[in-house]
Amino acid sequence: MTSVQPAYRAPRRLGGGIPPDRSRQIARHERGRALRATAFLAPALAVIIAFVFLPAFSALRLSFTDASGFGEESWIGLDNYVAVFTDPATLRAIWNTVGYAVMYGPLVIAVGLGAALLLNRKDVPLRSFFRTIIFLPFVISMAVASLAWAFLLDPNLGLIPYWLGKVGIQMGDIFASTTWALPAVTAVAIWKNFGYFMVIFLAGLQGIPRYLYEAAILDGAGAWRQFRAVTMPGLRATMTFVIVFAIIGAFQAFDQIYIMTQGGPDRATETIVYRIYTDGFRDFRMGFASALSYVLLVITLALGLIQLRIGAKREKDLE
């Protein structure tokens, strides 16, 4: 159930009664196994070492330099990190990312859970049809979703402002509003991803034994009480996984911002990854972008560790 199960089994102890030649034979077998394992692991490890492990160290080194991608780079100590945490525009990007995560996490989970609860009822016709349609946005790229929503919400051409105008709501240009642009790019991500959370919740809901509901009904529990007393506790394991997963995902927001707002208006939708992209690849401040990358890396690692801890604790509780 949890994220990771330990791979390790303690090596078999060689008993004292085993004669020396036999133990040499065992040692030879062990060397053979290690050799074969190395051969199987080599291609994947080569890729991971070259393109994840080593770059992680280069990013750390770059973050202490004024690298621009051209010419010499010199060591400037912690200057980039100082800049990350003092430059108002960068702090704003970090703050926007946190705001994005705070909106995205709870909403995508609530909508996904809502859809899962509806779809979990056995007496609903066309269940698999509904499931297919509701999950559909998940296979559509965020880029395409952004283009479609930019069109739908365009104040001069879009269907949504037009229809809302007909019922008396003047929406205006939300992508020109420093208040509404960030919620709008968040909403596109919720639209695209809630089907994923729905499917995970559906699996979680199926894991709750039926008799618990039957017992609750016998005790006279209504729908809300059943939800509070049976469904929510039954989903606790799923919930911890999903919350951390959603927050980590939120900290990587980029695509819809690049396509819909380019970080605007007035930096209102700039996020950490958007700044890594523009600083590193448009303004060629690669040292600074690397420092910001490390901030992202540390945040993600911390979230990942929290998830591992919760998972391990839960496993202990279950034992």
């Binding site: 159930m1 394992a37 492990f53 990013a59 965020m142 479609a148 809901l205 890594i276």
Partner: protein
Amino acid sequence: MNQTTTASLAPARPPARRRGSASTARLLTQSGVVAGLLVFAALTSFPVVVVVLSAFSPESEVLSWPPNFIPSRFTLENFDGLTARIPVFAQSWNSFVFAAAVTGLSLVFNSLAAYALARIDFKGRYVIFTVLIAIMMVPFQALLVPLYELISDIGWVNTYAGLVIPRAADVAGIFLLRQFFITLPRDLDSAARIDGASELRVFWSIILPNAKPALLTMALFHFVNNWNDLLWPLIMTSDSSVRPLTAGLALLTGSATGVAPYGVMMAGSLVAIVPLVVLYLLVQRRFIEGVAMTGMKG
């Protein structure tokens, strides 16, 4: 391990009928649930329907107020506009090569590594496993700058190799396959080993055939994720000869007149989503089960 998943996807059982007011109440909740699901389905399909309708709509109608939901006539002019602006066939091919090559290579590399971690009892396995867990949490967005420098040092910017090779293996993929390989019974391979089968033979003719569902799921994920990816191709390609479609589409948003060419954008979007939507509809069951599996095992 996956019972829950499969159970969740079992077809709905016919509703149990009861008499009298109970059945009226039941009918009411049932219609409420169906209404809720209809709202969700409308929300998810509406933008997709708009993409399809606008792609075939005359550009003058797309760019007029009040907007038309259903175009007055269907035309292919937006697709002409699309091919005039970006090399859409070449870029679709690039998307396919990129996604298919990553899928193929990473299935081979990941399953080999997963096999070693799941089925070979060797010293150092715990160390490798722990290091991999730590690496799995590193977000690739944090490595963009050094990765770009590395790829440009090798001379792979604007090449398929630059797009594909850094993604030829990934820790999350290795873990998911490993979790699946562990569930296969040990007897499967010990019998073959006693008969003198080599490790490669056990892997190829015993483990892989038994892991087909997991492999298919991983293949789908890799293909869809890479076909849809924006940031990585945006950085690694500037030349249309290798640039995939998603990154190509992003360039459509700007226009000289200041009005976004939505008709063309919707035509491009349609080209980008049709292959995946078809693939999804063909194997949606496997797809959704796969998502449930990653969620449970994460």
